[in-house]
Amino acid sequence: MTNHIEIDHITKDYGQGRGVFDITFQVQKGETLGFLGPNGAGKTTTIRQLMGFIKPDSGSVSILGKDCFKEADFIEKSLGYLPGEIAFIDSMSGIEFIRFIAKMKKMKGLGRAESLMEKFELNPSGKIKKMSKGMKQKIGIVCAFMQDPEILILDEPTSGLDPLMQNQFIDLLLQEKKRGKTILMSSHIFEEVEKTCDRAAIIREGRLVAVEDMEKLKSGRKKIVELHLADENMAASFAREIAGSKVTGRSVSANVGLDMDEFIKKAGAYTVVDLNVRTQSLEEFFLHFYGGQNND
Protein backbone atom coordinates (compact mmCIF):
# COMPACT_ATOMS: atom_id res chain seq x y z
CA MET A 1 0.00 0.00 0.00
CA THR A 2 1.23 3.51 -0.76
CA ASN A 3 0.84 6.30 1.71
CA HIS A 4 -1.15 9.25 0.45
CA ILE A 5 -0.63 11.38 3.51
CA GLU A 6 2.59 11.25 5.47
CA ILE A 7 3.26 13.08 8.69
CA ASP A 8 6.80 12.62 9.81
CA HIS A 9 7.88 13.72 13.30
CA ILE A 10 6.34 17.17 13.09
CA THR A 11 6.58 19.64 15.93
CA LYS A 12 4.91 23.03 16.03
CA ASP A 13 5.41 24.68 19.38
CA TYR A 14 3.19 27.64 20.29
CA GLY A 15 4.64 27.83 23.78
CA GLN A 16 2.91 27.13 27.09
CA GLY A 17 2.51 23.51 26.10
CA ARG A 18 0.28 24.39 23.17
CA GLY A 19 0.97 23.01 19.73
CA VAL A 20 1.85 19.57 18.48
CA PHE A 21 4.93 17.61 19.37
CA ASP A 22 6.65 14.89 17.39
CA ILE A 23 3.57 13.63 15.59
CA THR A 24 4.04 10.77 13.14
CA PHE A 25 1.40 8.83 11.24
CA GLN A 26 0.39 7.96 7.72
CA VAL A 27 -2.84 7.59 5.82
CA GLN A 28 -2.72 4.93 3.15
CA LYS A 29 -4.33 5.18 -0.24
CA GLY A 30 -8.00 4.29 0.04
CA GLU A 31 -7.98 4.36 3.82
CA THR A 32 -10.23 6.30 6.15
CA LEU A 33 -8.36 7.45 9.20
CA GLY A 34 -10.01 9.06 12.17
CA PHE A 35 -8.02 11.72 13.97
CA LEU A 36 -9.38 11.59 17.44
CA GLY A 37 -8.77 13.83 20.38
CA PRO A 38 -10.46 16.19 22.80
CA ASN A 39 -10.83 19.90 21.95
CA GLY A 40 -7.54 21.73 21.91
CA ALA A 41 -5.48 18.56 21.54
CA GLY A 42 -3.79 19.76 18.34
CA LYS A 43 -5.94 18.23 15.63
CA THR A 44 -6.47 21.47 13.76
CA THR A 45 -2.82 22.48 14.16
CA THR A 46 -1.83 19.21 12.49
CA ILE A 47 -4.36 19.68 9.71
CA ARG A 48 -3.19 23.26 9.06
CA GLN A 49 0.24 21.87 8.39
CA LEU A 50 -1.22 19.34 5.97
CA MET A 51 -2.97 22.20 4.19
CA GLY A 52 0.25 24.18 3.93
CA PHE A 53 -1.10 27.08 6.01
CA ILE A 54 1.66 26.71 8.56
CA LYS A 55 5.11 25.20 8.43
CA PRO A 56 6.20 22.71 11.07
CA ASP A 57 9.11 23.83 13.28
CA SER A 58 10.69 20.47 12.55
CA GLY A 59 9.73 17.32 10.73
CA SER A 60 7.92 17.10 7.43
CA VAL A 61 4.44 16.68 6.03
CA SER A 62 3.67 15.45 2.58
CA ILE A 63 0.64 14.48 0.54
CA LEU A 64 1.03 12.40 -2.62
CA GLY A 65 4.76 12.64 -2.02
CA LYS A 66 4.79 16.44 -2.28
CA ASP A 67 5.74 18.89 0.44
CA CYS A 68 2.56 20.35 1.92
CA PHE A 69 3.85 23.91 2.17
CA LYS A 70 5.91 24.28 -0.99
CA GLU A 71 3.70 22.36 -3.36
CA ALA A 72 0.29 23.06 -1.90
CA ASP A 73 -1.01 24.08 -5.32
CA PHE A 74 -0.16 20.67 -6.77
CA ILE A 75 -1.72 18.81 -3.86
CA GLU A 76 -4.89 20.90 -3.99
CA LYS A 77 -5.71 19.51 -7.43
CA SER A 78 -6.74 16.27 -5.77
CA LEU A 79 -7.76 17.48 -2.35
CA GLY A 80 -11.04 18.42 -0.74
CA TYR A 81 -10.83 20.34 2.53
CA LEU A 82 -13.42 21.14 5.12
CA PRO A 83 -12.07 23.69 7.64
CA GLY A 84 -12.88 23.26 11.29
CA GLU A 85 -13.89 26.85 11.69
CA ILE A 86 -16.84 27.98 9.67
CA ALA A 87 -15.82 31.14 7.90
CA PHE A 88 -17.06 32.27 4.54
CA ILE A 89 -17.20 35.48 2.65
CA ASP A 90 -20.23 36.90 4.38
CA SER A 91 -21.38 39.24 1.69
CA MET A 92 -22.01 36.38 -0.74
CA SER A 93 -25.04 34.15 -0.93
CA GLY A 94 -24.51 30.43 -0.41
CA ILE A 95 -24.76 29.56 -4.08
CA GLU A 96 -22.51 32.47 -5.09
CA PHE A 97 -19.89 31.18 -2.69
CA ILE A 98 -20.16 27.62 -4.00
CA ARG A 99 -19.82 28.91 -7.58
CA PHE A 100 -16.87 31.07 -6.57
CA ILE A 101 -15.06 28.15 -4.95
CA ALA A 102 -15.85 25.88 -7.91
CA LYS A 103 -14.24 28.41 -10.23
CA MET A 104 -11.28 28.89 -7.91
CA LYS A 105 -10.83 25.12 -8.01
CA LYS A 106 -10.82 25.38 -11.79
CA MET A 107 -13.83 23.11 -12.07
CA LYS A 108 -16.03 23.17 -15.10
CA GLY A 109 -19.50 23.75 -13.73
CA LEU A 110 -20.51 22.75 -10.24
CA GLY A 111 -19.56 19.06 -10.32
CA ARG A 112 -21.42 17.14 -7.68
CA ALA A 113 -22.66 20.22 -5.85
CA GLU A 114 -26.26 19.77 -6.99
CA SER A 115 -26.60 16.21 -5.76
CA LEU A 116 -24.83 17.08 -2.51
CA MET A 117 -27.18 20.00 -1.86
CA GLU A 118 -30.07 17.64 -2.43
CA LYS A 119 -28.62 15.03 -0.11
CA PHE A 120 -28.17 17.55 2.67
CA GLU A 121 -31.41 19.40 1.94
CA LEU A 122 -29.51 22.63 1.51
CA ASN A 123 -31.08 25.69 -0.02
CA PRO A 124 -28.08 27.92 -0.63
CA SER A 125 -29.86 30.93 -2.08
CA GLY A 126 -29.77 33.13 1.04
CA LYS A 127 -26.95 35.33 2.28
CA ILE A 128 -24.35 33.34 4.19
CA LYS A 129 -24.33 35.95 6.95
CA LYS A 130 -27.89 35.03 7.86
CA MET A 131 -27.46 31.27 7.76
CA SER A 132 -27.49 28.98 10.77
CA LYS A 133 -24.37 27.13 11.82
CA GLY A 134 -25.69 23.88 10.38
CA MET A 135 -26.41 25.44 7.00
CA LYS A 136 -22.94 26.95 6.87
CA GLN A 137 -21.45 23.58 7.69
CA LYS A 138 -23.42 22.06 4.81
CA ILE A 139 -22.00 24.66 2.44
CA GLY A 140 -18.54 23.72 3.66
CA ILE A 141 -19.29 20.06 3.00
CA VAL A 142 -20.54 20.81 -0.50
CA CYS A 143 -17.36 22.80 -1.21
CA ALA A 144 -15.14 19.99 0.04
CA PHE A 145 -16.82 17.17 -1.88
CA MET A 146 -18.14 18.79 -5.06
CA GLN A 147 -14.93 18.43 -7.03
CA ASP A 148 -14.91 14.68 -6.29
CA PRO A 149 -11.34 14.77 -5.01
CA GLU A 150 -9.15 11.76 -4.42
CA ILE A 151 -8.15 12.85 -0.93
CA LEU A 152 -10.38 14.42 1.70
CA ILE A 153 -9.25 16.27 4.79
CA LEU A 154 -12.18 16.98 7.06
CA ASP A 155 -11.83 18.92 10.29
CA GLU A 156 -14.71 18.05 12.63
CA PRO A 157 -17.09 17.60 9.72
CA THR A 158 -20.27 16.89 11.64
CA SER A 159 -20.13 19.84 14.02
CA GLY A 160 -23.26 21.93 13.77
CA LEU A 161 -25.23 19.23 11.96
CA ASP A 162 -28.39 17.77 13.47
CA PRO A 163 -28.45 13.97 14.08
CA LEU A 164 -30.29 13.26 10.85
CA MET A 165 -27.73 15.19 8.82
CA GLN A 166 -24.89 13.60 10.79
CA ASN A 167 -26.17 10.26 9.58
CA GLN A 168 -26.41 11.58 6.03
CA PHE A 169 -22.84 12.66 6.33
CA ILE A 170 -21.65 9.30 7.62
CA ASP A 171 -23.52 7.77 4.73
CA LEU A 172 -21.65 10.01 2.32
CA LEU A 173 -18.32 9.14 3.90
CA LEU A 174 -18.99 5.41 3.61
CA GLN A 175 -19.91 5.91 -0.03
CA GLU A 176 -16.70 7.82 -0.71
CA LYS A 177 -14.73 5.18 1.11
CA LYS A 178 -16.20 2.51 -1.14
CA ARG A 179 -15.13 4.57 -4.14
CA GLY A 180 -11.57 4.33 -2.92
CA LYS A 181 -11.05 7.82 -1.50
CA THR A 182 -8.35 8.53 1.01
CA ILE A 183 -9.91 10.30 3.97
CA LEU A 184 -8.51 11.96 7.06
CA MET A 185 -11.22 13.05 9.42
CA SER A 186 -10.74 14.72 12.75
CA SER A 187 -13.29 14.40 15.49
CA HIS A 188 -13.78 14.45 19.20
CA ILE A 189 -16.68 12.05 18.97
CA PHE A 190 -15.74 8.40 19.08
CA GLU A 191 -18.97 7.13 17.54
CA GLU A 192 -18.65 8.89 14.22
CA VAL A 193 -15.08 7.70 13.84
CA GLU A 194 -16.12 4.22 14.89
CA LYS A 195 -18.75 4.06 12.15
CA THR A 196 -16.54 5.20 9.32
CA CYS A 197 -12.85 4.68 9.94
CA ASP A 198 -10.44 1.80 9.44
CA ARG A 199 -7.91 3.17 11.85
CA ALA A 200 -7.72 5.99 14.30
CA ALA A 201 -4.87 8.23 15.40
CA ILE A 202 -5.41 9.47 18.90
CA ILE A 203 -3.92 12.76 20.01
CA ARG A 204 -3.90 14.26 23.45
CA GLU A 205 -2.25 17.45 24.66
CA GLY A 206 -0.34 17.78 21.40
CA ARG A 207 1.14 14.32 21.49
CA LEU A 208 0.14 11.25 19.57
CA VAL A 209 -1.06 8.63 22.02
CA ALA A 210 -1.67 5.82 19.57
CA VAL A 211 -2.48 4.84 16.04
CA GLU A 212 -4.66 1.75 16.21
CA ASP A 213 -6.96 -0.35 14.12
CA MET A 214 -10.56 0.51 14.79
CA GLU A 215 -11.32 -3.06 15.84
CA LYS A 216 -8.77 -2.92 18.60
CA LEU A 217 -10.05 0.40 19.86
CA LYS A 218 -13.61 -0.82 19.83
CA SER A 219 -12.66 -3.81 21.91
CA GLY A 220 -11.01 -1.53 24.42
CA ARG A 221 -14.04 0.69 24.70
CA LYS A 222 -16.48 -0.24 27.40
CA LYS A 223 -20.07 0.61 27.96
CA ILE A 224 -21.44 1.61 31.28
CA VAL A 225 -24.57 -0.47 31.87
CA GLU A 226 -26.95 0.36 34.63
CA LEU A 227 -29.65 -2.14 35.64
CA HIS A 228 -32.61 -1.48 37.91
CA LEU A 229 -33.71 -4.71 39.51
CA ALA A 230 -36.91 -5.61 41.32
CA ASP A 231 -35.50 -5.38 44.85
CA GLU A 232 -32.34 -4.74 46.84
CA ASN A 233 -31.56 -8.39 47.57
CA MET A 234 -31.58 -9.14 43.89
CA ALA A 235 -29.31 -6.20 43.25
CA ALA A 236 -26.86 -7.35 45.89
CA SER A 237 -26.73 -10.90 44.64
CA PHE A 238 -26.38 -9.81 41.00
CA ALA A 239 -23.56 -7.48 41.95
CA ARG A 240 -21.69 -10.41 43.52
CA GLU A 241 -21.78 -12.19 40.16
CA ILE A 242 -20.34 -9.25 38.22
CA ALA A 243 -16.77 -8.27 39.07
CA GLY A 244 -16.22 -4.55 39.55
CA SER A 245 -19.88 -3.59 39.68
CA LYS A 246 -21.38 -1.00 42.01
CA VAL A 247 -24.67 -1.25 43.87
CA THR A 248 -26.82 1.69 44.86
CA GLY A 249 -30.15 0.62 46.26
CA ARG A 250 -31.87 -1.49 43.63
CA SER A 251 -29.57 -0.48 40.78
CA VAL A 252 -26.32 -2.06 39.68
CA SER A 253 -23.87 -0.37 37.35
CA ALA A 254 -20.88 -1.96 35.67
CA ASN A 255 -18.35 -1.34 32.91
CA VAL A 256 -19.01 -3.89 30.23
CA GLY A 257 -16.72 -4.52 27.29
CA LEU A 258 -16.40 -7.72 25.29
CA ASP A 259 -18.23 -9.65 27.99
CA MET A 260 -21.58 -8.10 27.04
CA ASP A 261 -23.21 -11.42 26.19
CA GLU A 262 -22.23 -12.97 29.50
CA PHE A 263 -23.46 -9.90 31.35
CA ILE A 264 -26.86 -9.95 29.67
CA LYS A 265 -27.32 -13.69 30.23
CA LYS A 266 -26.48 -13.36 33.91
CA ALA A 267 -28.93 -10.48 34.21
CA GLY A 268 -31.56 -12.68 32.57
CA ALA A 269 -31.82 -14.67 35.80
CA TYR A 270 -33.19 -11.60 37.62
CA THR A 271 -36.21 -9.35 37.22
CA VAL A 272 -34.94 -6.33 35.30
CA VAL A 273 -37.09 -3.23 35.69
CA ASP A 274 -35.05 -0.82 33.64
CA LEU A 275 -31.81 -0.65 31.72
CA ASN A 276 -29.53 2.27 30.80
CA VAL A 277 -26.49 2.05 28.57
CA ARG A 278 -23.98 4.86 28.29
CA THR A 279 -20.75 4.78 26.33
CA GLN A 280 -17.58 6.05 27.87
CA SER A 281 -16.68 9.61 27.03
CA LEU A 282 -13.50 10.11 25.07
CA GLU A 283 -11.65 11.21 28.19
CA GLU A 284 -12.84 8.21 30.20
CA PHE A 285 -11.86 6.05 27.29
CA PHE A 286 -8.34 7.47 27.12
CA LEU A 287 -7.92 7.01 30.82
CA HIS A 288 -9.10 3.48 30.53
CA PHE A 289 -7.28 2.51 27.35
CA TYR A 290 -4.00 4.10 28.28
CA GLY A 291 -4.56 4.12 31.99
CA GLY A 292 -1.36 2.16 32.60
CA GLN A 293 0.85 4.70 30.83
CA ASN A 294 -0.87 7.94 31.58
CA ASN A 295 -1.57 7.85 35.25
CA ASP A 296 0.12 11.16 35.91
Partner: protein, 266 residues
Protein backbone atom coordinates in the same frame (compact mmCIF):
# COMPACT_ATOMS: atom_id res chain seq x y z
CA UNK B 1 0.01 36.10 -13.69
CA UNK B 2 -3.13 36.68 -11.68
CA UNK B 3 -6.17 34.62 -10.77
CA UNK B 4 -9.05 36.07 -12.80
CA UNK B 5 -11.78 34.44 -10.71
CA UNK B 6 -10.50 36.12 -7.57
CA UNK B 7 -9.93 39.37 -9.44
CA UNK B 8 -13.52 39.42 -10.65
CA UNK B 9 -14.73 38.61 -7.14
CA UNK B 10 -12.80 41.59 -5.80
CA UNK B 11 -14.28 43.87 -8.45
CA UNK B 12 -17.73 42.75 -7.36
CA UNK B 13 -16.97 43.22 -3.68
CA UNK B 14 -15.21 46.57 -3.93
CA UNK B 15 -16.66 48.58 -6.79
CA UNK B 16 -19.10 50.28 -4.45
CA UNK B 17 -16.27 51.44 -2.21
CA UNK B 18 -14.48 52.83 -5.24
CA UNK B 19 -17.65 54.55 -6.41
CA UNK B 20 -18.27 56.18 -3.04
CA UNK B 21 -14.77 57.59 -2.82
CA UNK B 22 -14.84 58.70 -6.44
CA UNK B 23 -18.10 60.46 -5.77
CA UNK B 24 -16.60 62.34 -2.82
CA UNK B 25 -13.58 63.31 -4.90
CA UNK B 26 -15.88 64.39 -7.70
CA UNK B 27 -17.82 66.71 -5.44
CA UNK B 28 -14.71 68.33 -3.98
CA UNK B 29 -12.91 68.49 -7.31
CA UNK B 30 -15.68 70.11 -9.26
CA UNK B 31 -16.50 72.47 -6.39
CA UNK B 32 -12.94 73.74 -6.19
CA UNK B 33 -12.72 74.23 -9.93
CA UNK B 34 -16.08 75.99 -9.96
CA UNK B 35 -14.92 78.27 -7.16
CA UNK B 36 -12.02 79.48 -9.24
CA UNK B 37 -12.28 83.08 -10.16
CA UNK B 38 -9.26 85.34 -10.34
CA UNK B 39 -11.04 87.94 -8.23
CA UNK B 40 -12.20 85.52 -5.64
CA UNK B 41 -8.81 83.99 -5.24
CA UNK B 42 -7.61 87.44 -4.37
CA UNK B 43 -10.06 87.60 -1.51
CA UNK B 44 -9.04 84.09 -0.50
CA UNK B 45 -5.50 85.32 -0.57
CA UNK B 46 -6.46 88.10 1.77
CA UNK B 47 -7.94 85.51 4.07
CA UNK B 48 -4.78 83.43 3.81
CA UNK B 49 -2.71 86.45 4.75
CA UNK B 50 -4.82 86.95 7.84
CA UNK B 51 -4.14 83.43 9.16
CA UNK B 52 -1.01 82.23 7.42
CA UNK B 53 -0.27 79.25 9.72
CA UNK B 54 -3.55 77.49 9.15
CA UNK B 55 -3.43 77.99 5.41
CA UNK B 56 0.18 76.89 5.37
CA UNK B 57 -0.62 73.70 7.25
CA UNK B 58 -3.01 72.68 4.51
CA UNK B 59 -0.45 73.55 1.87
CA UNK B 60 -2.41 76.53 0.74
CA UNK B 61 0.35 79.12 0.88
CA UNK B 62 1.15 81.20 -2.13
CA UNK B 63 -1.87 79.94 -3.94
CA UNK B 64 -1.36 81.89 -7.09
CA UNK B 65 -3.87 83.32 -9.41
CA UNK B 66 -3.85 80.71 -12.15
CA UNK B 67 -6.30 77.82 -12.27
CA UNK B 68 -3.37 75.39 -11.97
CA UNK B 69 -2.16 77.04 -8.76
CA UNK B 70 -5.67 77.07 -7.44
CA UNK B 71 -6.43 73.41 -8.17
CA UNK B 72 -3.09 72.04 -6.99
CA UNK B 73 -3.08 74.31 -3.96
CA UNK B 74 -6.53 73.41 -2.74
CA UNK B 75 -6.76 69.78 -3.89
CA UNK B 76 -3.39 68.15 -4.45
CA UNK B 77 -1.75 69.37 -1.29
CA UNK B 78 -4.18 67.70 1.04
CA UNK B 79 -7.65 66.56 0.01
CA UNK B 80 -6.69 64.40 -2.91
CA UNK B 81 -4.07 62.69 -0.79
CA UNK B 82 -6.04 62.25 2.44
CA UNK B 83 -9.27 60.88 0.96
CA UNK B 84 -7.69 58.27 -1.28
CA UNK B 85 -5.53 57.24 1.68
CA UNK B 86 -8.64 56.38 3.68
CA UNK B 87 -9.80 54.35 0.69
CA UNK B 88 -6.44 52.59 0.61
CA UNK B 89 -6.50 51.71 4.29
CA UNK B 90 -9.93 50.12 3.91
CA UNK B 91 -9.16 48.38 0.63
CA UNK B 92 -5.73 47.01 1.58
CA UNK B 93 -7.20 45.54 4.74
CA UNK B 94 -10.09 43.98 2.85
CA UNK B 95 -7.83 42.36 0.29
CA UNK B 96 -5.72 40.26 2.64
CA UNK B 97 -5.92 40.72 6.42
CA UNK B 98 -9.69 40.52 6.56
CA UNK B 99 -9.74 37.09 4.93
CA UNK B 100 -7.10 35.87 7.35
CA UNK B 101 -8.84 37.41 10.32
CA UNK B 102 -12.23 35.86 9.63
CA UNK B 103 -10.76 32.58 8.40
CA UNK B 104 -12.18 32.60 4.88
CA UNK B 105 -8.62 32.66 3.55
CA UNK B 106 -8.69 28.91 4.24
CA UNK B 107 -11.11 28.50 1.34
CA UNK B 108 -9.26 30.88 -0.95
CA UNK B 109 -6.00 29.02 -0.39
CA UNK B 110 -7.48 25.52 -0.57
CA UNK B 111 -7.40 25.68 -4.35
CA UNK B 112 -4.83 24.52 -6.89
CA UNK B 113 -3.07 27.85 -7.06
CA UNK B 114 0.18 29.13 -5.58
CA UNK B 115 -0.26 31.31 -2.55
CA UNK B 116 1.97 33.84 -4.26
CA UNK B 117 -0.37 34.10 -7.21
CA UNK B 118 -3.35 34.68 -4.93
CA UNK B 119 -1.66 37.53 -3.08
CA UNK B 120 -0.23 39.05 -6.29
CA UNK B 121 -3.79 39.13 -7.64
CA UNK B 122 -4.77 41.22 -4.62
CA UNK B 123 -1.81 43.57 -5.06
CA UNK B 124 -2.59 44.04 -8.75
CA UNK B 125 -6.20 44.74 -7.87
CA UNK B 126 -5.13 47.45 -5.44
CA UNK B 127 -2.90 49.13 -8.02
CA UNK B 128 -5.66 48.90 -10.64
CA UNK B 129 -8.09 50.63 -8.28
CA UNK B 130 -5.57 53.41 -7.69
CA UNK B 131 -4.94 53.81 -11.36
CA UNK B 132 -8.65 54.02 -12.10
CA UNK B 133 -9.19 56.51 -9.31
CA UNK B 134 -6.37 58.84 -10.36
CA UNK B 135 -7.24 58.53 -14.05
CA UNK B 136 -10.82 59.37 -13.20
CA UNK B 137 -10.09 62.47 -11.15
CA UNK B 138 -7.57 63.65 -13.73
CA UNK B 139 -10.16 63.32 -16.47
CA UNK B 140 -12.83 64.87 -14.31
CA UNK B 141 -10.86 67.98 -13.42
CA UNK B 142 -9.59 68.43 -16.96
CA UNK B 143 -13.15 68.12 -18.20
CA UNK B 144 -14.67 70.52 -15.68
CA UNK B 145 -11.84 73.03 -16.13
CA UNK B 146 -12.07 73.04 -19.90
CA UNK B 147 -15.80 73.32 -19.70
CA UNK B 148 -15.82 76.29 -17.33
CA UNK B 149 -12.50 77.98 -18.09
CA UNK B 150 -11.36 76.91 -21.55
CA UNK B 151 -7.62 76.89 -22.07
CA UNK B 152 -6.90 77.91 -18.48
CA UNK B 153 -5.41 74.60 -17.46
CA UNK B 154 -2.34 73.22 -19.21
CA UNK B 155 -3.13 69.56 -19.85
CA UNK B 156 0.48 68.33 -19.97
CA UNK B 157 1.36 70.06 -16.72
CA UNK B 158 -1.74 68.76 -15.04
CA UNK B 159 -1.02 65.20 -16.18
CA UNK B 160 2.41 65.43 -14.58
CA UNK B 161 0.83 66.51 -11.30
CA UNK B 162 -1.35 63.41 -11.40
CA UNK B 163 1.51 61.10 -12.28
CA UNK B 164 3.01 62.36 -9.05
CA UNK B 165 -0.24 61.83 -7.14
CA UNK B 166 -0.39 58.24 -8.35
CA UNK B 167 3.16 57.84 -7.04
CA UNK B 168 2.14 59.03 -3.56
CA UNK B 169 -0.84 56.71 -3.53
CA UNK B 170 1.18 53.72 -4.76
CA UNK B 171 3.58 54.42 -1.90
CA UNK B 172 0.86 54.61 0.76
CA UNK B 173 -1.12 51.77 -0.82
CA UNK B 174 2.00 49.59 -0.87
CA UNK B 175 2.64 50.31 2.79
CA UNK B 176 -0.97 49.52 3.78
CA UNK B 177 -0.89 46.36 1.71
CA UNK B 178 2.35 45.28 3.34
CA UNK B 179 0.77 45.54 6.79
CA UNK B 180 -2.32 43.77 5.57
CA UNK B 181 -0.07 40.89 4.48
CA UNK B 182 1.94 40.82 7.69
CA UNK B 183 -0.80 40.80 10.30
CA UNK B 184 -3.42 38.26 11.22
CA UNK B 185 -5.84 40.73 12.62
CA UNK B 186 -7.79 43.46 10.90
CA UNK B 187 -7.25 45.61 13.98
CA UNK B 188 -3.48 45.67 13.52
CA UNK B 189 -3.55 45.93 9.77
CA UNK B 190 -5.82 48.96 9.67
CA UNK B 191 -4.37 50.42 12.85
CA UNK B 192 -0.82 50.61 11.59
CA UNK B 193 -1.93 51.69 8.12
CA UNK B 194 -3.95 54.53 9.64
CA UNK B 195 -1.05 55.46 11.90
CA UNK B 196 1.29 55.84 8.95
CA UNK B 197 -1.15 57.92 6.94
CA UNK B 198 -2.03 60.22 9.84
CA UNK B 199 1.62 60.61 10.76
CA UNK B 200 2.69 61.40 7.19
CA UNK B 201 0.00 64.01 6.77
CA UNK B 202 0.47 65.60 10.20
CA UNK B 203 4.23 65.76 9.78
CA UNK B 204 3.77 67.47 6.45
CA UNK B 205 1.30 69.94 7.91
CA UNK B 206 3.67 70.82 10.74
CA UNK B 207 6.64 71.10 8.42
CA UNK B 208 4.72 73.57 6.29
CA UNK B 209 3.69 75.77 9.17
CA UNK B 210 7.00 77.29 9.99
CA UNK B 211 10.72 77.19 10.37
CA UNK B 212 10.57 75.51 13.76
CA UNK B 213 9.31 72.23 12.35
CA UNK B 214 10.70 72.57 8.87
CA UNK B 215 13.08 69.67 9.47
CA UNK B 216 10.02 67.42 9.73
CA UNK B 217 9.70 67.55 5.98
CA UNK B 218 12.54 65.06 5.82
CA UNK B 219 10.49 62.68 7.95
CA UNK B 220 7.41 62.34 5.80
CA UNK B 221 7.14 60.60 2.45
CA UNK B 222 4.72 63.25 1.23
CA UNK B 223 7.63 65.68 0.81
CA UNK B 224 8.70 63.53 -2.12
CA UNK B 225 5.62 64.74 -3.94
CA UNK B 226 6.79 68.07 -5.32
CA UNK B 227 3.85 69.51 -7.22
CA UNK B 228 5.55 72.73 -8.36
CA UNK B 229 8.65 70.79 -9.34
CA UNK B 230 6.65 68.39 -11.48
CA UNK B 231 4.86 71.25 -13.19
CA UNK B 232 8.18 72.92 -13.91
CA UNK B 233 9.68 69.60 -15.09
CA UNK B 234 12.47 69.77 -12.51
CA UNK B 235 14.82 66.83 -12.49
CA UNK B 236 14.73 66.47 -8.72
CA UNK B 237 10.96 66.33 -8.65
CA UNK B 238 11.00 63.45 -11.10
CA UNK B 239 13.60 61.60 -9.07
CA UNK B 240 11.51 62.01 -5.92
CA UNK B 241 8.47 60.82 -7.81
CA UNK B 242 10.35 57.77 -9.06
CA UNK B 243 11.40 57.02 -5.47
CA UNK B 244 7.73 57.04 -4.42
CA UNK B 245 6.82 54.56 -7.15
CA UNK B 246 9.83 52.37 -6.46
CA UNK B 247 9.19 52.23 -2.71
CA UNK B 248 5.49 51.56 -3.23
CA UNK B 249 6.18 48.68 -5.60
CA UNK B 250 8.85 47.38 -3.26
CA UNK B 251 6.35 47.37 -0.37
CA UNK B 252 3.89 45.46 -2.52
CA UNK B 253 6.55 42.91 -3.47
CA UNK B 254 7.72 42.49 0.12
CA UNK B 255 4.09 42.07 1.23
CA UNK B 256 3.48 39.38 -1.37
CA UNK B 257 6.65 37.52 -0.48
CA UNK B 258 6.01 37.71 3.25
CA UNK B 259 2.48 36.46 2.81
CA UNK B 260 3.63 33.57 0.62
CA UNK B 261 6.08 32.40 3.24
CA UNK B 262 4.43 33.03 6.55
CA UNK B 263 2.34 30.87 8.83
CA UNK B 264 -1.37 31.59 8.69
CA UNK B 265 -3.69 30.92 11.61
CA UNK B 266 -6.61 29.82 9.45
Amino acid sequence: MINTTLFKKEIKSNYILLLIFSAVLTVYGSMIVAMFEPKMSESLKAMADSMPEIFAAFGMTDVGTTLMDFVTGYLYNMLYIAFPCVFLIILANRLVAKYVDNGSMAYILAVPEKRRKIVITQAVFLVCCLFIMVAYITGLILFVSHLMFPKELNTAEFLRVNVGLLGVLVFIGGACFLFSCLFNETRLSTGIGTGIVVYSILAQMLARVGDKFEALKYATPLTLYDVEGLIAMERNAWICCAVLYACGLLFLAVGCTAFSKRNLPI
